[in-house]
């Protein structure tokens, strides 16, 4: 075939059919059927699986908005030229992208299209009887023959097969007798669970996908930062941020409230391995629900259950209490400001925005060091995450904070475009340095700023001088338990499908002159590495039963052993 079109009326990419092969014409329905058959073929499913594996990889290379939004912003800053291209390709939302969705939807369509006919087929197989015994069992790979002495061959042949039938039935086979005048046989089949498990696995995977998809519509996840002493009420307004499924209405939130009473954390002491490593986090809460108050704690791996919601601990840090007074001495700002930790020693960054009460708006960028260390250059660093000698340094900006026009602005970011810096290294003036309880003058006689000491009465050290905050996640998703159920069903189905052997076995006894010849044969249906051993066991077991019942007798002369291949035919070389 060529892609060059010779007919000028045809578009240039028109492909003429190859006339050398005459194929039956496919109508529209025919093409649909052909397409469907292609899609539901194992080969297509396999290729879709491999494509899915490859398509998932970019999501591990590039930061994803759903998992790591800050990483995406960082990546954008580092690669401003490449970012728009990759973003258009959805490299930062791989798992929500149309192309990724297309792959897994096609895969699942293929899966459903493959499974439905197999369900029908299996349902029929479950009702049908084992097939007629083949005329020549000898042709099957796993074949054994035994001859036994008998005085009444015809009757003994029948009873030998009766015994085999009972034996097979006890082994879990479905059995069917096929007898004629001189030869008797039982046809047996087992391992229907293999296909049942296979179908269960695939249906359960569809179940997982559907539950995740539908359940996500009813789920919501919100975040809230709580400083010690603050209370959160479960209303939309009280969340810092909230993602909710499309079916979650405004009134879906259960009314309750919780207060962060205290936040516990321990640090590995100085000098020990893992010095400064934080652990045993516990956000101690008081929960009010339906007028009842109770206490509970949110710990890592131990979320708190409230009214079907689960409360998780995502992060923590310090929230220095800062008071700003204007030139007249009036308090224009007072708040415990959550500072975002920047390193493991909780060097933290926070922003204060004073919107009213000053001649112009004031922005303050604060750096916090819980245990202050001083470099040779004179710069501060956090030496340890616990509160030993905390220091707060402040750079003050004056001007327009850019929040009056209604644009949403992060409370953790100071937009300095319309601000003039008053203190800090950038303008050659020392930053304001404060220890807990200290007050300093703002530049240009604007007023004062105080770093409040929150230590309780009689405290002898700084260990409680600064409040802590806990970053909490409130998560509601009742479908997750169903996802788990389907996942476990899939696992169960998988084990059945891979470990249960599906096999057919036949035992046939023919009456001779003074002997009964018994033939055994096994046929694997699918992977069945233990078939040979199973047939051997069947032969041995049958002989024992025949001996016990006194039906026929083993030949007194030892016959040359039929060398049955062992279950493992790997050469034993020694």
């Amino acid at each position: 075939m060529t892609t060059e079109s010779t007919d000028p009326l045809r578009p240039s990419d028109h492909v003429d059919g190859d006339d050398s092969i005459t194929q039956p014409r496919l109508g529209f329905v025919g093409w649909l059927r052909w397409g469907w058959r292609q899609l539901t073929s194992m080969r297509t499913a396999l290729i879709l699986l491999l494509v899915l594996a490859i398509a998932a990889i970019p999501g591990s290379i590039f930061p994803q908005r759903m998992a790591d939004p800050n990483g995406v912003t960082q990546w954008q800053r580092d690669n401003p030229d490449l970012f728009p291209v990759l973003d258009a390709l959805k490299m930062f939302d791989v798992y929500l992208s149309p192309w990724f969705s297309a792959i897994y939807l096609l895969l699942f369509t293929s899966l459903v299209g493959c499974v439905i006919p197999r369900i029908k087929h299996h349902a029929k197989a479950l009702r049908s009887r084992p097939p007629r015994t083949p005329a020549r069992l000898r042709r099957l790979a796993d074949f054994r023959a035994v001859e036994r002495v008998s005085t009444d061959a015809a009757a003994d042949a029948a009873s030998a097969v009766d015994i085999a039938q009972k034996q097979l039935k006890a082994l879990g086979y479905r059995v069917e007798r096929y007898d004629d005048k001189r030869s008797f046989s039982v046809s047996a089949e087992r391992g229907y669970w293999r296909e049942t498990g296979n179908l269960l696995f695939h249906i359960a995977l569809v179940g997982v996908l559907v539950t995740v998809g539908v359940g996500g519509g009813f789920a919501y996840t919100g975040q809230r930062v709580l400083v010690e002493g603050e209370t959160f009420a479960n209303t939309l307004l009280d969340y810092d941020s909230m993602n909710r499924g499309r079916f979650v209405g405004d009134g879906a939130l259960t009314p309750y409230s919780m207060r962060l009473d205290s936040f516990d954390v321990t640090y590995q002491p100085f000098g020990e391995p893992g010095s400064g490593q934080a652990g045993d986090f516990s956000a101690n809460m008081t929960v009010s629900e339906n007028g009842d108050e109770r206490t509970g704690s949110v710990r890592v791996n131990h979320p708190l259950d409230i009214a079907g919601d689960k409360i998780y601990l995502l992060g923590n840090g310090y929230a220095p209490t800062i008071t700003v007074r204007n030139a007249e001495g009036d308090v224009v700002y007072r708040n415990s400001v959550p500072f975002l930790p920047q390193d493991n020693n909780l060097f933290s960054l926070g922003i204060v925005k004073v919107t009213d009460g000053m001649p112009e708006q004031l922005g303050i960028r604060g750096l916090f060091y819980p245990t202050t260390g001083v470099l040779e250059s004179g710069a501060f660093f956090a030496a340890y995450p616990d509160l030993t000698n905390p220091t707060l340094t402040l750079d003050v900006f004056e001007g327009d904070l850019g929040i009056n026009n209604g644009d949403p602005k992060s409370v953790y970011v100071l937009d300095t475009t319309d601000l003039t810096q008053l203190t800090g290294r950038a303008v050659g003036k020392d930053s304001i340095e404060l220890s807990p309880g200290e007050t300093a003058d703002l530049p240009n006689g604007l007023g004062t700023v105080t770093f409040e000491d929150e230590s309780p009465e009689g405290a002898t050290d700084m260990s409680q001088s600064v409040k802590r905050f806990a970053s909490l996640q409130i998560h509601h998703d009742q479908s997750s338990v169903w996802v788990l159920v389907f996942a476990l069903l899939a696992l169960g189905g998988l084990m059945l499908a891979l470990f249960v052997p599906r096999r057919r076995v036949w035992v046939k006894a023919s009456a001779g002159e003074d002997a009964v010849s018994i033939e055994y044969a096994g046929l694997a249906r699918g992977e069945d590495p233990t078939l040979a051993a199973a047939v051997d066991d069947l032969v041995a077991g049958h002989a024992r039963l025949l001996d016990a019942a006194g039906v026929t007798a083993a030949r007194p002369v030892a016959e040359p052993d039929d060398p049955a291949p062992a279950a493992s035919d790997t050469p034993k070389v020694d």
Binding site: M42, A56, S60, Y95, Q268, G279, N301, V573
Partner: protein
């Protein structure tokens, strides 16, 4: 306590040395196999070899009157050393566990230790039933490389567990994942040999002069290697599925969601899909044999990638390598 933290690395290095010796013994075994196979061929008449080639070509010729049954002494030495090395390896792991006061799989150094311990354990257990000593070189080599890498680059002192790791799922999830890796590694080795054997069978069928490494003559036929690889891979796959589910349950408790396409989650999923593809390939016309073997190889490469590169270099929530 102080003594244990010293003893454990010493035991581990001893184990590495013994494994290295085992590797050498197994390597000599492979070389010896080539020689034995050549001698057997020289003794046997040409048409017998022809018959052998026609019937698969790869089975060891049954012990005949003309040639004594080959005894692979070096393989026995290799296996004995492997057992000895494993005992030291186990002791190193147990002392590490005692000095840490917890399960010995909470950072990359310990993952490497337990992972290789399980690889050797699975290999030795399987040896009781099936003679897979031709894999000894691979297993010993892999373990020496991984353990050496871990002991030199990944070593960290015992530190208390980070909060998210304080969970019963640490014991279950990580252990099953390591066990699964052990089965995948055996499947990988068998798949590699399967490809070599299949190449040899093709060359024999084409009556080529050279048919590749001589030791292949003493190995099972490629379809037999394939079915053994498959059996290990499906056990690994089921354990991997369990790892995914257990990890999701743990993630739900620790991070507030059961699935979030964290880097490690993504790679675990990718590996799962590759092995799912492998299992399907075995049932697809045109994909049995070599193509499916390649999938098994790709799958195990992804497992190793997930274990090393992803742990060390990728940023994600599974940042438990303990390295800074």
């Amino acid at each position: 306590m102080f003594e244990l933290t010293v003893i454990s690395p010493v035991l581990l290095w001893t184990a590495i040395a013994i494994y290295a010796a085992s590797f050498v013994a197994y390597a000599f075994d492979l070389a010896r196999r080539s020689q034995v196979a050549a001698e057997v061929r020289a003794v046997r008449t040409p048409e017998l070899v022809g018959v052998g080639a026609a019937s698969g070509g790869a089975q060891t010729p049954p012990a005949s009157d003309t040639a004594p049954a080959p005894r692979f002494v070096m393989a026995r030495i290799g296996t004995s050393l492997m057992v000895l090395g494993w005992v030291f390896h186990l002791a190193a792991t147990v002392t590490r566990s005692i000095s840490a006061g917890r399960v010995p799989w909470a950072n990359l150094y310990e993952f490497a230790m337990i992972g290789t311990l399980l690889i050797v354990a699975v290999y030795l257990v399987v040896l009781v039933r099936v003679d897979l000593r031709f894999l000894g070189t691979f297993i010993a080599g892999l373990v020496v490389v991984l353990l050496g890498l871990a002991a030199t680059n990944f070593y960290v002192d015992v530190t208390p567990l980070m909060d998210p790791l304080k969970s019963v799922w640490l014991i279950i999830h990580v252990f099953v994942a390591s066990l699964s890796t052990a089965f995948f590694s055996l499947a990988f080795a068998l798949s590699v040999l399967q490809l070599m054997q299949s190449r040899r069978e093709r060359l024999i069928a084409e009556k080529a002069e050279k048919t590749g490494p001589g030791f292949l003559r003493t190995l099972p036929a490629s379809d037999r290697l394939e079915s053994m690889a498959y059996r290990f891979a499906i056990i690994g796959f089921i354990l991997w599925t369990f790892t995914l589910i257990a990890g999701s349950i743990w993630a739900q408790d620790a991070w507030g969601r059961y699935w979030g396409f964290d880097v490690k989650e993504t790679w675990t999923f990718v590996i799962w899909v590759i092995y799912a593809g492998y299992i399907h390939a075995r049932a697809t016309r045109g994909w049995r044999g070599n193509p499916s073997a390649w999938l098994s190889i790709v799958g195990f490469s992804a497992v190793i990638f997930n274990f090393t590169i992803v742990n060390v270099f990728f940023k994600g929530l599974h940042a438990y390598s303990g390295l800074s």
